[in-house]
Symmetry: C2
Subunit: 246 residues, 2 copies
DNA sequence: AGATAATGTGTTTATTTTACACATTAAATC
DNA sequence: GATTTAATGTGTAAAATAAACACATTATCT
């Protein structure tokens, strides 16, 4: 379309080459991914942290991050970084938010995209432990390096909301679990206590639990029944209308 | 911390300079922002689109985007791009998602971050109309350039969820509005019809509407009462517990 | 056999959501 | 000014959901 008389319909046309030049020669920015890996262990919510790579920030804990390679999909980078830092490769990651302040990183302009996951600490043994990688109680996390405290808080809130709307939690439990296991999980993540009877009622009403007709072993009290989550049925379900509420 | 005997606590220490080198010399990627601006006009939900800058894609519509400058905060870039493309500068933007496939853009590797807004079409006159910028019915949006269709769909779903949990909608209405205005807005965005009496009851129960003791003017039927939204009261309110549901 | 420490179940009440019908008001028309 | 029109404004009953709450049961441990 050409420019029209009244000047209202100017068209900016650029050749592919011109845009390629822009994309390749100017304004390029370091891009990183930070992984916020939550885990559940002994009825507590944990998060994986390492000592910062950066000498100046060695005394501080930081999230698992690295730069994204030029020919690497963003989510591939997240999986690669998790694998490099922990050895884990059978974990589901979800993007949460991008953080892009000019001065957020001391080494220069680095925009980072946060990815989140929830895993079962007992079932995902860490294979790499460089930089003092280990699980921290989420309650004790403070003073992380750079803006990682903000990223962590954003992801923690995201997780608390997410787990109420999606069955994320079942990846943290063994395939067969008791309702007490399930409730402990929700209580740990949401940092609250719930009524056991109403909790059970709620989950039975959702009708995604399959009774596997087994009971807990080696518990010093009456063993609970075990269930598994019906992922097939959940996948088929069309999400119900939520309703206005704020 | 030094490497310990069993090799389990290797520490990767990098000097600031070493990381600066990484950040500055390698792996830098073009980063863009795409703005998905929703508007409400004549009881319909609209979205702002332009003809693609890129000659090869001229026949297709695209979102309002541009590269992020090296010394520019991500959200500043979003506001700058919106201003450049439309002349609008009094609009609130929220980040939705980053899109980072290697091959998503024909000009090379460009990671983009989508930002969203909702504005009142009548109260935000577009000052720039280059590249055929104008409002499109969301229902008619299809075949956008690049991966913009996916970005648009993600933002549309985000908006539908968001407006049920936050009072975004009130920015689209005049300061004083009738309950019919409000319902039309929700019906347009959620693409559904609601019961008028229950809708009113719900909003009155929330108790964020202030009766301004005025009525609609120039309507060819019984005029409705006008209300304004109590932003102060909303700001003070601590968000209520939502409850597990999926 | 009894104490212990859990699980498993049900009812009542309160709250929220849904469905649904009629009187009221201002403007437009005759 | 009486009538028609096209909305607004209000209330109630039924259904579904959430919250509060107590007791019997079961396996283990002593």
């Amino acid at each position: 379309m050409a420019t029209v008389a009244n000047g209202k319909h100017v068209q900016n046309i650029k050749s592919l080459q011109a845009i390629q030049t822009e994309v390749q020669s100017s304004n390029r920015i370091a891009l990183s991914v930070d992984c916020v890996i939550f885990g559940f262990d002994e009825n507590k919510l944990k998060v994986l942290l390492i000592r910062s790579d950066l000498k100046k920030y060695q005394s501080k804990w930081s999230l698992l991050g690295d730069l994204v390679a030029e020919k690497e999909d963003l989510h591939d980078a997240a999986y690669r970084i998790l694998k490099q830092r922990t050895g884990l490769d059978d974990v589901y990651l979800e993007q949460v938010h991008a953080f892009g302040s000019v001065s957020r990183h001391p080494a220069g302009r680095v925009v980072t995209v946060a990815y989140c996951s929830l895993i079962n600490v007992q079932h995902h043994k860490l294979k790499i432990l460089d930089n003092e990688l280990h699980w921290h109680d989420v309650q004790s996390v403070s003073e992380l390096a750079f803006d990682h405290q903000e990223i962590f808080q954003t992801c923690y809130k995201w997780l608390q909301k997410r787990i109420q709307e999606h069955p994320l939690g079942f990846n943290l439990l063994p395939k067969k679990f008791s309702l007490r296991d399930l409730q402990n999980l929700y209580e740990a993540i949401l940092d609250t206590k719930m009524d056991r009877r109403n909790f059970r009622k709620k989950f039975f009403a959702m009708d995604f639990l399959i009774d596997v007709d087994e009971i807990e072993q080696d518990v010093p009290h009456r063993p609970g029944k075990l269930y598994k989550f019906n992922f097939e049925k959940y996948a088929k379900k069309k999400k119900k209308w939520v309703g206005i509420d704020f």
